[in-house]
Structure formats: C-alpha cells, structure tokens
Symmetry: C2
Subunit: 292 residues, 2 copies
Amino acid sequence: MDKTQWNERIKLIEAALLKELGAETALVPRLAESMEYSLMAGGKRLRPILVMAAADAVGARGTDFVQAACGIEMIHTYSLIHDDLPAMDNDDYRRGKLTNHKVFGEALAILAGDALLTQAFEVILRQQGVPAQVLLEVLREMSIAAGPNGMVGGQVIDMLSEGKRISMEELRKMHMGKTGALFRAAIRSGAILGGASEAQLAALTTYADCFGLAFQITDDILDVVGDEAVIGKPVGSDERNEKSTYVTLTSLDEAKKLAADTVQQALEALEIFGDEAKFLRDLVKMLLERNK
Amino acid sequence: MDKTQWNERIKLIEAALLKELGAETALVPRLAESMEYSLMAGGKRLRPILVMAAADAVGARGTDFVQAACGIEMIHTYSLIHDDLPAMDNDDYRRGKLTNHKVFGEALAILAGDALLTQAFEVILRQQGVPAQVLLEVLREMSIAAGPNGMVGGQVIDMLSEGKRISMEELRKMHMGKTGALFRAAIRSGAILGGASEAQLAALTTYADCFGLAFQITDDILDVVGDEAVIGKPVGSDERNEKSTYVTLTSLDEAKKLAADTVQQALEALEIFGDEAKFLRDLVKMLLERNK
C-alpha cells in the first residue's frame, strides 16, 4: 500500500473541501463553522479516494476529479451528522471528538447536515473537464445512492430492525443501502468520469460491491477486536445493543473468512486491469488489516 | 385568476409526485409512507406552478417540465418536515394535519426529509427533452437556492435571531434565504428550461424576487388577520414568539402598503412579456388576496 500517495491525495481533498466551505458559507458563519467541524474532523477520506482510484484504473488521471470526489465526502459527512443525532443513534463521540450536535446543538446539526447534502450537488456540478452528459450520469449515481433506495433506505431498515435478530439476507440489504450504495457510487462515478468502457464499468461495479461488503464485515469485526483508543469509539457496542452483525449472525472466525473471500472476489474482478488498478487492489487488501 | 388551469396543473403535479414516490421507495415501505404523508398533504403547489408558468412566459409549454417542477416541490416539502421538528420550530400541526414527526416519530421524519431532498435531484435529473447543459444549469439553480447560502442559511439566521429584534435589512436577508431563494430557483429554472433569452431571464428574476418578498409580507399579515380554520395553524404566533416580521417591524397598514408596492414592481418587471405571462401576473396579484 502506497501510503505516501494516499496521504498526498488526502491533502488535496482536504484543501479542496476547505475551499468549497469558504466560498459557500460566508453568509452564515455559525452554519459554516458547524459544517466545517464535521467535514474537517479527519477520517480516511475513503470515498473520495475511491473516486480518484477508479478513474486512475480506467487510464484517466484521478486527481482531475477532486471536485466530484469532494461532493461524495460531503454526502458521507452529512449522513454521519444525522446518524449521530439524539433521535437516531444518539452518539456523543465520533472519531474521538464530540459529535456535531453535542457542540452546536441539535437544530444546527440537522441544518449543517442538510446544507452539506445540498452543497454536495453544487460542488459536483462544478467539476470541470467532462462532457455535460457525463456529469449528469455522475449526479444520477450519487442521488440514487444517497436517496430512499440507497443510504437513507438502509438507515431506516437499520432503525426498524433495532433489537431484532434479522436474517443474513436482511443484513446484506441493510448494508447494501447504508454503506454499500455510496461506495458503489464513488467507484462508478470515478470510472464514468474517467471514461470507462462498459466492461470496465461492470468489473469496477463488482469490485465496488465486494469492497462495500468487505468494509462492513471488517467494521463488524473491529467492533469486537478493535482498540478503543484507535477506533475512537467503545468496542463491543454491537453486542450490548443486540445488533445483528456479520459477527453476531455467524462467528468471529466465520466473519474473518467471509471478509477474506470477499476481498479475493474483489481482486478477481480487477483481473482485466493492469498496473493502473494497483491502488484499488491495495485498498481492498488493506481492509483485512484495518485497525480503525 | 384562471382557477381551472391552476387546478388542472395541481392534478398533473400530484399525479407525477405519486408516480415518483412509487417508483423510488418500494425498498422501505415505512419510509415511503412517511415521505408520501408530507408530500401529498395538499398545499398550493406554488413552486412547481411557478416553474411551469415561467416556462409558459418565455413561449415554451410549461407542462413539459412537470418533472423538474416535482423536484422543487420535494425540496420544499423536505424543508417543511425539518422545520417542524422538535429541535427546530417544534410544530404539531401543518396545514391542519399532524406534522410528520408527530405521526412517524422524529428519526423517521429526519430521514424522510433527507430522502426527499436527495430524491429531488434524481427526479430533476429525469427531466426529458432539454439539452444536458440546460439540465445542469437548472440543477445548479436548485442546489444553490436550497443550500447554505439559500434556504438552509435563511433557516439558520431565523433560528439564531429568535427572541431578538432584528433590523429590516436582516429580516430581508433571512427571508431572501428562507423562502425567496426557492421561489427564485423555481422561476429561473422554468425560464431556463423554456429557453429564456438573457433579457427574459433578468426580467423574471426581478419578478421572482418581488414575488418572494410579497409572499413573505402577506404571510406575516396572515399571521395577524388570518382565519385559523383556513390557514390551518394558530394566528398571532409571531407576536407570541416575539418574532420580527414585516408587521411587527412596521405596522399592519405599512405592511399592506409594502405588499401592494412589491406586487406592482413584479408586474412592471413583466412588461416585456405579452399574454404568455398572464398566469404569472395573476399569481402575484393573488398574493394580495391570500387567505391561506
């Protein structure tokens, strides 16, 4: 895994995010502050990194699409702010920092989320250097992924199944919406922006779905074996909250095996690519070594 | 005012909205129910009507743009759901019906709002019969109007100025965001979709800003002189909540005069148009006779 390249890209993304915030939110400084608090709270920037890596994989230059990449990070951040709200997961901490509503109050947290989601589309719309038709396709990917049949739908399923034991099939459906859809949109958007062929797009979609699944399984594993100080939230919360996860529905060992198999499938999907997909390969392999 | 035409268009819009909901939310029926509850709660459908009327004014056929018109109604509806939340205005009733969170709970109300906002973009993206570049422009109008420098920004200013006496200048800025921006986006989008010239777009933008202002002033007047049974919410709430309004900052008579002057300005902006703008003229004049 080329950590240098990753860190360089994180810097690029974060500089672009700050620029977007500065340009857009001068009207109401308190709102800008709340948006920035969550948007600049660190994190792996995995979704924008995936946008760029997918573009690289199809032979384009990933860094040309930092604008669209920023948009997806804003959508991701809005979803975290709303998920943490008292009416939802009621979390006080996120990545070791107080959650948005703990700092800015519930009303402003709701509005900062709304603002980030809306501005995300504006930011994507300012992506340069691609035909209008391509930009429309990317916006379509993003809006479908984030909407009622994607991220929001998954969140509702999660909410409605709290305290219930759900089947492996329902668990998959929930995560396909809650986290999978946005990973898929990130990777497909990068591919579309980079001018992917049909075959490349199909291969990357398979990769994306495996990536999302492996991400979720390893997330569930981390909740059992993770180091609180490193992941920034208490471990064992899934078991305490009687949440169905890939670990609670099977076992730790089986979950680890499923994660490894899924990563293997993701790698197989990339077989049609050469060295341009090295970063994507490294990224999915890295999931098996996650410590946060 | 041609009420027949209005009612026909409302039917067209509502049929399209129902179709969008059905197609999109099958995954999670409870979420679909919550979205539909608020989206189909009636209302004047003023924003989609304005999209179509603006397209008519520039010589296009307004009904061709029902798709984009639906998108803006979904954005408007999301904003009402979130505004009513306990953490925000904490309203129990809207248009004489229980608010979304009173029926579906706070978490689902937040998520239904999020889903409507996101799906709005998807719905607009499915607008047919316009060049890709035009659709991108419309999406830009909508995302800027609904975002941190528009609707959400106005809502934050409103929240932060609660219980304070603000200046007429601040009041204008707040409403320009909170309600004005979306009226502007509706009218400009309709004009852009209809192929407006620069001069037509400029005239309709002036009309839009006057329309938004007159709408707000007459809204403030209604809060004083309205009939509770007709407007579907208690009158006199602005005074009780010590809200700054066009009435409390001036007087009922002055507010009425300002409304009439603003409507006159809107009509003057339409002077470059012929009969195609009759509906827009009727619409703004109707504001002076609002009873809800």
